[in-house]
């Protein structure tokens, strides 16, 4: 018999049985799709237009591009980050704790590992959806320069995996919805301000700029911004590796903490 600790920290046991759980979330989303897509587009679009045209008219070009292009890419990554975080925290918490949907699912031949995998991939799926929506708007406005811009979609996926996993970590620790405020205040807001969403990190003091190298969103932006302008990003492999590292770390932590919470 495996000891409790061995079982708790065991590598994920993966099976295709996570698919019906992922599909369940998709079917619920489909019922509310219009409101959801509107929410995904409207907020970042308003920021992009207001800041892009408003501040953009004051400061001209930033880092070799118009400010609206600069902020547009930032908004794509920001929205991917928020969408996955929100899904991993509030929506997952509703399903796990409030509605007890997970309890019902693990009575069927589906393991908790399958459920966590399904929720993680679903959070990332929603990131891809919101990335797609905003990308579409940017293209329609004429700011997507080449087909290279479509590579922003997989960047959205990676951002979704990082922050969906982080959201699920918070979910596994939460006693109520209020707990998630810590994540917004202590993680997401600093991440936004330090990753070059609104202004280039090169503007910051060198010590602070060095710190930004550890932030996953910074690496997503370093990938997305050249892609939007039609260039292949420098050090693309490094950025992808950093994002994958954070994604795997967050997922594994979420898995262990969720097992600890529910399998007792």
């Amino acid at each position: 018999m495996m000891s409790y600790a061995t079982k708790l920290y065991a590598l994920p046991s993966l099976s295709p049985r996570f698919l019906p759980v992922w599909r369940r979330n998709l079917l619920v989303w489909r019922k509310l799709a219009i409101a959801s897509v509107l929410g995904n587009i409207a907020d970042p679009l308003l920021y992009m237009l207001a800041l892009g045209y408003g501040i953009g008219s004051l400061i001209g070009n930033v880092a070799g591009m118009s400010y609206i292009e600069f902020i547009g890419t930032g908004m794509v990554c920001q929205s991917a980050m928020f969408t996955a975080s929100f899904e991993g925290m509030y929506s997952a918490f509703s399903r796990m704790h409030v509605q007890r949907t997970w309890d019902g699912i693990i009575n069927a031949p589906i393991s908790l590992d399958d459920v966590v995998m399904a929720e993680w991939l679903w959070a990332a799926t929603k990131s891809v959806m919101s990335t797609t929506a905003i990308l579409l708007v940017i293209m329609v406005l004429g700011y997507g320069h080449t087909w290279l811009a479509l590579w922003v979609l997989p960047v959205g996926l990676l951002v979704g995996l990082v922050f969906g996993g982080a959201g699920l970590v918070m979910n596994a620790l939460a006693q109520n919805y209020d707990f998630f405020t810590y994540f917004f205040t202590l993680v997401l807001t600093p991440m936004l301000l330090l990753s070059g969403v609104y202004f280039p990190v090169e503007q910051m003091p060198p010590a602070l700029a060095a710190v930004t190298q550890f932030l996953p969103l910074k690496h997503a932006i370093d990938l997305a911004r050249p892609l939007m302008l039609g260039h292949v990003p420098e050090q693309a492999a490094l950025h992808v590796a950093v994002l994958l590292f954070y994604a795997a770390l967050a997922y594994y932590a979420a898995l262990v903490l969720t097992r600890r919470r529910l399998l007792k």
Partner: protein
């Protein structure tokens, strides 16, 4: 696979004169142990459920019922003992076992984002059942649950009883060999409880096997063919309801209450009954022949009384005590 040398035939099978084979053991639990920190919740529990049985697991709150069920489903690992459910060792092959088991949990967890029909469809999907199989099964399941007219209705508008019936139908979506129900009628009104019981009796008559936890003795009395009373994680008694009653409780009870009940009990009750218990304002006087006691009571003023046959509640209280459990 299952080689218990001498499985007990269920009363139903005994009644029909059938002989149970080793394949008729649906759930076998041997020496089950589970501890949380210093608190050992299940302490060496063993029982066997045969095909066609309705096995009632009775016990006060905190007796270890739900923990035992979670171990059987492979959701938590026991600290000792072995479990074989529908021929699969659990927890090792918990997933394979759960494919052929239906569960009605203590608390409703229907999917509030879906309609009645969608709930069955989505849940069937978790078992990997193809859509056309499910679409073919759903009308019968809705009929069984008395929800045929509610198929496209959202869950939020259903009454408590309807939700429970849908949960029961959902547990049948994979046509399980074993149905596990954890306090299936807690929180329901009497009409709704009777509907659930009717449904369960119907399933038993179709030959389904049921494992039921409850602390409602009338529920156990109506449904269970075998009972196990557990407390503090150990088995106190296990047999058919009738044998348990015959073995542990006097056949008749007189409940005496009213202003003079206590005084009567102290002076005459103890003398006229085999066993007497006082709980609050009521004296429970147990006897094999209550006639002398009834004759005495008829002459008294200031007491009222009720004469009835002993039931499982008397058994349960005798075995687990009268103190309140939280």
């Amino acid at each position: 696979m299952l080689d218990d040398p001498s499985p007990q035939p269920s009363p139903r099978e005994r009644g029909e004169g059938a002989v149970a084979s080793t394949l008729d053991v649906v759930l076998q639990v041997d020496g089950l142990r589970k501890r949380y920190g210093d608190n050992e919740v299940v302490r060496g529990l063993s029982f066997t459920i045969n095909r066609g049985d309705c096995f009632g697991l009775l016990g006060p709150n905190g007796a270890g019922k739900t923990t035992t069920l979670r171990c059987c489903l492979g959701l938590i690992d026991p600290d000792g003992g072995s479990i074989t459910m529908v021929g699969q060792p659990v927890p090792k092959h918990g997933r394979e076992a759960r494919i052929r088991v239906g569960v009605v949990p203590q608390m409703d967890n229907l999917d509030p984002d879906f309609t009645v029909r969608e709930n069955l469809l989505i849940y069937g999907g978790y078992f990997g059942l193809p859509r056309d199989v499910l679409e073919a099964r759903i009308p019968d399941l809705l009929e069984f649950a008395g929800l045929s007219t509610k198929r496209e209705v959202g869950i939020r508008t259903l009454s408590g009883g309807m939700k429970r019936r849908l949960t029961l139908a959902r547990a049948l979506v994979n046509d399980p060999e074993l149905l596990i129900l954890d306090e299936p009628t807690t929180g329901l009104d009497p009409q709704a409880r009777h509907l659930i019981w009717d449904g369960l009796r119907q399933l038993l008559s179709q030959g389904k096997t049921i494992l039921l936890t409850t602390h409602f003795m009338d529920e156990a009395e109506r449904l269970a063919t075998r009972l196990a009373v557990i407390d503090h994680g150990v088995m106190i008694a296990s047999d058919t309801p009738r044998t348990l009653l015959a073995k542990h409780v006097e056949p008749e009870v007189v409940e005496v209450y009213g202003d003079e009940a206590k005084a009567w009990a102290d002076v005459h009750g103890r003398r006229l009954s085999k066993r007497l218990e006082i709980s609050g304002e009521t004296a429970f006087a147990y006897a094999s022949d209550p006639q002398p006691m009834l004759a005495d009571l008829a002459t008294r003023s200031g007491v009222r009384y009720l004469h009835r046959p002993a039931n499982l509640e008397d058994l349960f209280i005798k075995l687990t005590g009268r103190e309140l459990r939280d």
